[in-house]
């Protein structure tokens, strides 16, 4: 099987799901989610056995199937599956806030659209041409506009959708304008050819830098870095929680593979590397500072995770800016892939707990976590593992990710950005562990609350994610193998 059949399979799965959703009678559309899980799982397994050798056709100038692409495809598939599991837990909330058709909430499409988003993210992972980057990125972004606004009976969701739409359109404008300049100075759209052209010394550097700045602004929107980070808290808070998780992991990862590929072009050019690195380091420092310091006063867990997502973007940009040396035998792109795989595990674990809390208490506030230890020791433990890993406590998968970034920064002697990163990591300890105080020491306001029961699928997913966080934090060889493919 050629590698592009993976995306074809995912799109066909999406079409089948859409038709099932429309034509199978009955109001309980859970079977759509279950089919999606099975199908995506099959594709995920299949992604390890595909034939990745390119042939002579012109298609391969738009599409790349290197190890990095395959890692990001796996991240996209795994993330989509976990989001669908989260969505299954979130159905009571969806039932309340989606359009009421025939006396019940219409949430069937909530499990179809992520499959198309997944296909878009897989295409993004392989995109190696300005044109294919643009179309696949737009597919993902437009589908996300719909998903963020999905709970249309909830004003917060609508507000988040409008904010995401307007800033998304703005960033698309920046992206296309930057691409236009890049095409204008090089006359090419394929990234490898552009890289060769930029290195040939025949290209005007000032317009190339201009295109770099424009593209960076647009990508900052996708990955949640300064200067276009301010949409993140509001959109994350308003969007349906599984979609927040999807934005925070899937959309960010897809943004980072594109960022990695485009930065390779600019950082590989002798004439541009100096200025580009300086700009990237400034972005990384500002992102680390904004993300971590603004997270400290937050009292809403979703907003806290939003700022945490900004700060993680700062670490990732720092890794990319640290230069081609990398660390521990991993190239910068591979460090980012590793960090994102780790980030996927721990963030989705945190969001899985948040979905349950949100469903049972109807609130995302930190106070809603009060006394969680008494209500469900298992959930409290899951969140403990998640925030410990997000903060970067040793023996968790998040620690290894941070270690790689720090090692790369030390190797490149970036002492000032390293200082910002350390401030960020220390601040992280404070605000992440605030949640623990709520869970273990604060008593709930309204006396003892009833215990929380979990479905089998949720329990299994949580267990899997906890195990992954802890085991991969000690034994990191498997993830290393994955990103080194």
């Amino acid at each position: 099987m050629p590698v592009y059949s993976l995306e074809v399979a995912v799109v066909l799965l999406g079409l089948v799901l859409l038709m099932m959703e429309a034509f199978v009678a009955g109001k309980d559309k859970r079977f759509v989610a279950h089919t999606a899980l099975l199908g995506l799982g099959a594709v995920l397994v299949g992604s390890f056995f595909v034939d990745r050798t390119p042939d002579a056709s012109g298609f391969w100038s738009f599409y790349k199937a290197d190890g990095l692409a395959m890692t990001y495809k796996a991240i996209a598939l795994a993330c989509t599956m976990l989001v669908i599991v989260l969505g299954l837990d979130y159905i009571p909330v969806l039932e309340k806030f989606t359009a009421r058709v025939g006396g019940h909430g219409a949430w069937g499409e909530f499990f179809c659209l992520p499959v198309f988003i997944c296909a878009g993210m897989m295409w993004m992972a392989s995109a190696s041409d300005l044109t294919s980057i643009f179309v696949s990125l737009e597919l993902v972004t437009i589908a996300f506009y719909v998903m963020v606004t999905f709970m249309r009976r909830n004003v917060g969701s609508l507000e988040a959708g409008v904010k995401y739409l307007i800033l998304g359109a703005l960033s698309t404008g920046f992206l296309v304008y930057g691409f236009t300049w890049l095409f204008g100075v090089t006359g090419q759209t394929n990234l490898d050819v552009i890289a060769a052209k930029l290195n040939s010394g025949t290209v005007a550097t000032v317009p190339a830098m201009f295109s770099f700045a424009l593209i960076l602004v647009a990508l900052a929107f996708k990955i949640g870095a300064v200067p276009l980070q301010f949409w993140i808290p509001d959109v994350y808070q308003g969007a349906p929680t599984p979609i927040t998780a999807y934005l925070s992991v899937g959309s960010k990862a897809a943004g980072f593979i594109v960022t990695t590929r485009i930065l390779q072009v600019f950082l590989g050019s002798e004439a541009l590397v100096h200025n580009c690195t300086a700009i990237l380091l400034a972005v990384a420092c500002a992102t680390l500072l904004v993300g971590n310091l603004a997270a400290i006063p937050q009292t809403n867990f979703k907003r806290l995770l939003a700022y945490s997502s900004i700060s993680h973007a700062g670490f990732l940009v720092l890794a990319l800016a640290a230069g081609p040396a990398g660390a521990f035998g991993l190239a910068p792109g591979q460090i980012v892939a590793y960090y994102l795989a780790a980030y996927l595990i721990m963030t989705l674990l945190a969001f899985a707990v948040l979905v349950v809390i949100n469903r049972t208490s109807g609130s995302d506030d930190l106070n809603a976590f009060n006394g969680l230890h008494q209500r469900s020791p298992f959930l409290a433990f899951a969140l403990l593992v998640a925030v410990a890993s997000l903060a970067g406590v040793p023996l968790t998968v998040g620690f290894v990710g941070k270690l790689l970034v720090f090692a790369a920064a030390v190797k490149a002697s970036l002492w000032l950005p390293l200082g910002f990163a350390i401030i960020g990591a220390v601040a992280g300890f404070y605000y992440y562990l605030k949640v623990l105080r709520n869970m273990y020491w604060n008593a709930p306001a309204g006396g003892t609350l009833p215990a929380i029961t979990l479905s089998g699928l949720t329990k299994a997913t949580l267990l899997l994610l906890i195990a992954a966080t802890v085991v991969l934090g000690v034994w990191w060889a498997p993830l290393f193998q994955l990103v080194r493919r």
């Binding site: 799109v11 999406g14 079409l15 859409l18 012109g58 298609f59 738009f62 599409y63 309340k96 806030f97 359009a99 009421r100 058709v101 025939g102 006396g103 219409a106 499409e109 179809c112 659209l113 198309f116 296909a119 878009g120 295409w123 044109t131 294919s132 179309v135 696949s136 737009e138 597919l139 437009i142 589908a143 506009y145 719909v146 606004t149 999905f150 249309r152 009976r153 909830n154 004003v155 917060g156 204008g184 100075v185 005007a204 000032v206 317009p207 201009f210």
Partner: protein, 199 residues
């Protein structure tokens, strides 16, 4: 003389684009947007991109109509008219535009290939046809049209789109599907007895 036409259409596009931002009534904004698109379409045509120019008008006519519906249906026009100007925001916006313009001007001043005039690089159609024959491009009738001295731009768009860029076409197909589903999900009619939305 024709460069006068360029300046006229560019002025129409930019002037009405400015009106989109400046005018207070959303209906006027939408109309100004439509005129701005007309100016843009004329510029496309002046660059020999006839197909893009026509499509610009056809699609955006539809899109602007939808915008009208959107305005009339969803916005409280009077509320928009009453809104006071937010001076810090206006100042910030002006500052941003000025900074961006300075940047753009300095970039353009540094961009040597950008200083050539379009008249200095005329389209050499027979040479293009010869190059197509040499590279074995599929559509033969395009070469005949090129040799006859006119530009078959729709045919060229079609040929490129359906041979070289068919991967992108499939992605756009999925994109349109997602958009269709999205439109229906977000604006589907609800039951008449549905309870009011919550905040």
């Amino acid at each position: 003389m024709p460069s006068v036409l360029f300046y006229i259409f560019a002025a129409v596009m930019l002037g009405f684009g400015l009106l989109v931002v400046v005018l207070r009534n959303p209906v006027s904004n939408a109309l100004a947007l439509a005129v701005s698109f007309l100016g843009l379409a004329a510029l496309f045509v002046s660059l020999n991109a006839f197909f893009i120019g026509i499509i610009q008008i056809l699609v955006y006519a539809g899109a602007v109509m939808v915008l009208f519906l959107f305005i009339v249906m969803l916005l409280d026009i009077k509320a928009e008219q009453r809104r006071k100007l937010n001076m810090p925001a206006v100042a910030g916006g002006v500052l941003l535009v000025v900074a961006f313009s300075i940047q753009l001007i300095s970039v353009l001043a540094n961009f040597e290939p950008g200083k050539r005039r379009i008249n200095e690089v005329p389209l050499d159609l027979p040479a293009a046809a010869a190059a197509r024959v040499a590279s074995g491009a599929p559509a033969a009738s395009i070469n005949a049209t090129l040799n006859a001295g006119s530009l078959p731009d729709v045919n060229l768009v079609g040929e490129t789109l359906f041979t070289k860029y068919n991967f992108h076409l499939q992605v756009i197909g999925v994109l349109l599907l997602v958009a269709t589903v999205g439109v229906i999900v977000i604006s589907r009619r609800e039951d008449k007895n549905a309870p009011a939305a919550e905040s």
